[in-house]
């Protein structure tokens, strides 16, 4: 981990970069998996489980690569099961409780839209192993974006109830969106090395996609200038993350010497 006093190495920066990407996906995938067996319609149960499988799959691949970069003999499970909430660097956006179906969709849309622009640029990274992964995952991200966007339209421009519900979800989620574009010395390193992307480059594109979609869905775009949360990338989280990790990690940590793969 980087500190103000210690110079960040390229290896540390790349590891942190990969973990941030992976943590977002694991935590959101874990949240979405709570829908399995409880979806609003059988067909949609399958769809959310698919998105969840993709996200956890992406996280697994990223953790595997992180373990290689770290080179301390860890495996992917080490990062998922043996770190505490202060070490998780996922966005607060991803850890918030699943809420109703509208909340889940609104969050997925905001996140997938960001991932889409981010991965479109990560394709150009100067690392074949990394871009191999990125290209593969990008195809699935495009589908997540399409699926969640279509649902935003349906809920926004559906019944009065659905309109109000998803509007409320967007209002609630708004203050967690600025963090999507958070950048620090880790990103600077990665951009310099041709491994990372400058998210400020596509902020306007992302905003436009979000605004156009909400407008088409007859929804009101919340105020961009409101107070925005921060701190995720430095391990500052809502209380929800701790409970999620307690549940996710308990078995593995109770019997750390056992084989569970």
């Amino acid at each position: 981990m980087s500190t103000a006093t210690k110079e960040l190495t390229k290896q540390e920066a790349f590891l942190t970069y990969l973990l941030r990407l992976a943590d977002d996906r694991l935590i959101l995938g874990q949240r979405n998996s709570e829908w399995c067996g409880h979806g609003p319609q059988l067909e949609e149960d399958l769809a959310i489980a698919n998105i969840s499988l993709d996200l956890i799959g992406h996280a697994t691949a990223l953790y595997e690569y992180a373990a290689e970069v770290e080179d301390e003999g860890h495996d992917e499970d080490h990062f998922a099961y043996f770190r505490d909430d202060r070490e998780f660097t996922n966005l607060q956006l991803c850890e918030l409780p699943k809420g109703d179906f509208g909340f889940t969709i609104a969050r997925q849309f905001l996140f997938s839209a960001f991932s889409y622009f981010q991965y479109e640029r990560l394709k150009e990274a100067q690392d074949e192993q990394f871009t191999g992964m990125v290209n593969k995952h990008l195809k699935e991200i495009k589908y997540h974006l399409r699926h969640s966007r279509e649902w935003v339209l349906r809920l926004g421009d559906g019944t009065e109830e659905s309109h109000n519900r998803i509007q409320e979800s967007f209002d609630e989620l708004w203050m967690y969106t600025d963090e999507l574009f958070y950048m620090d010395e880790v990103d600077e390193w990665m951009i310099k090395e041709g491994l990372g992307v400058d998210s400020s480059e596509f902020k306007d594109e992302w905003k436009k996609l979000v605004e156009d979609t909400l407008t088409e869905a007859t929804l009101t775009v919340p105020d961009w200038d409101q107070f925005m949360m921060s701190g995720s990338r430095k391990g500052i989280h809502t209380e929800h993350l701790g409970h999620m990790l307690a549940q996710m990690q308990f078995l593995r940590r109770s019997y750390p010497d056992a084989e569970w793969k």
């Binding site: 694991l26 874990q30 998996s33 709570e34 399995c36 067996g37 409880h38 979806g39 609003p40 319609q41 059988l42 067909e43 949609e44 149960d45 399958l46 489980a49 698919n50 969840s52 499988l53 956890i56 799959g57 996280a59 697994t60 953790y63 992917e76 499970d77 998922a80 099961y81 109703d100 179906f101 509208g102 339209l153 349906r154 809920l155 421009d157 559906g158 019944t159 109830e161 659905s162 519900r165 999620m244 549940q247 996710m248 308990f250 078995l251 593995r252 019997y255 010497d257 056992a258 084989e259 569970w260 793969k261």
Partner: protein, 314 residues
């Protein structure tokens, strides 16, 4: 009209091994029996998501989490195939769902048992999916075309379900002392319920003879159960777990394994709704359905508005 001639003709088609398709003539009783049996099968797949879904969030490795989530998702798919097949008999899915959420339709009692430890997930994969495969392999040759095809697809997808459970159970059974204890405990609890999955003895199964006559089923409950026991004895031995039945003995004469008396009182008790998890399962399914109503309505309303807009534009 169901005159004898038509019934005979129908029976002759069945006996010749022909498949019956949705628009073909069929006795009303055949249709009703299929609706009952197929929808029960579908409900079971859906309720069956809950006991296993209980461990998705707590799965002990990322690999096992992905495997379990994919498996439970498949069950939703299987429920969907089976509902679709049932709908070819002229009944809407919403009506079928209504019958089990708010009416008397049944689902397999096995899903009213709790999954207390992660080893239960492995035992379910091995025993419960093992039993389901025995049953579904037979149903893949059922006389009703859509039901047979749905089961072909299900069998193809389900082969990994049993394997993943058996593989992990084997790992636990040869793992740390705590894992071994968990694995054996899970087998102890799931063995008898899995035998009950094949239903009552043939002598107590009023529907069996008729279903076999119409080749909806090709084997009796007891035949399938015996087939399952023979196989499981062998598989239990291979991974060093003990099946909790002191009466299990190989019968030289029949070439099969004899087993002890199944606790039928418990079976009927769970069927009547008194299993540990009966009430929770129904509550969970009803609340998913009721909480989803506004979502389903929104999609219908959006489709209506969109159509109107398109009509106006053209």
């Amino acid at each position: 009209m169901e005159n004898q001639e038509k019934l005979d003709e129908f029976q002759a088609r069945i006996d010749a091994g022909e498949k019956i398709e949705p628009k073909d003539w069929m006795p009303e009783r055949y249709r009703q029996q299929l609706i009952r049996m197929m929808s029960q099968h579908a409900h079971s797949e859906i309720v069956g998501m809950l006991p296993e879904g209980n461990w998705i969030e707590r799965a002990p490795s990322l690999k096992r989490k992905l495997v379990l989530l994919a498996k439970v998702q498949d069950e939703a798919g299987h429920g969907l195939y089976l509902y679709s097949a049932t709908e070819t008999l002229g009944i809407d899915r919403s009506e079928l769902v209504d019958q089990y959420l708010y009416g008397n339709a049944k689902y397999s009692s096995i899903f009213n048992y709790p999954t207390m430890t992660y080893a239960d997930i492995c035992a379910i994969g091995w025993l419960v999916d093992g039993a389901a495969i025995v049953n579904q392999t037979m149903l893949a040759r059922s006389s009703y075309g859509p039901y047979s095809r749905a089961n072909v697809r299900i069998c193809k997808e389900e082969s990994f379900h049993k394997k993943q459970g058996y593989e992990m159970l084997a790992k636990m059974a040869s793992g740390t002392p705590e894992q071994q204890k968990m694995a054996q405990d899970a087998v102890n609890r799931w063995w008898w319920p899995s035998l009950m999955m094949f239903g009552p003895h043939d002598s107590d199964s009023p529907n069996s003879a008729e279903l076999i006559k119409w080749q909806v089923k090709l084997k009796t409950n007891d035949e399938l159960r015996q087939h399952f026991v023979d196989r499981m004895v062998m598989e239990a031995e291979a991974i060093d777990v003990t099946l909790p039945d002191p009466d299990l003995t190989y019968n030289e004469e029949t070439g099969h394994w004899d087993f002890g008396e199944i606790p039928w009182d418990e079976f009927w008790n769970v069927v009547k709704g008194n299993g540990i998890m009966n009430r929770d399962r129904m509550k969970a399914r009803r609340s998913a359905h009721e909480n989803g109503e506004w979502v389903r309505e929104a999609a219908v309303e959006y489709a209506r508005k969109k159509k109107l807009r398109e009509e106006k534009a053209s």
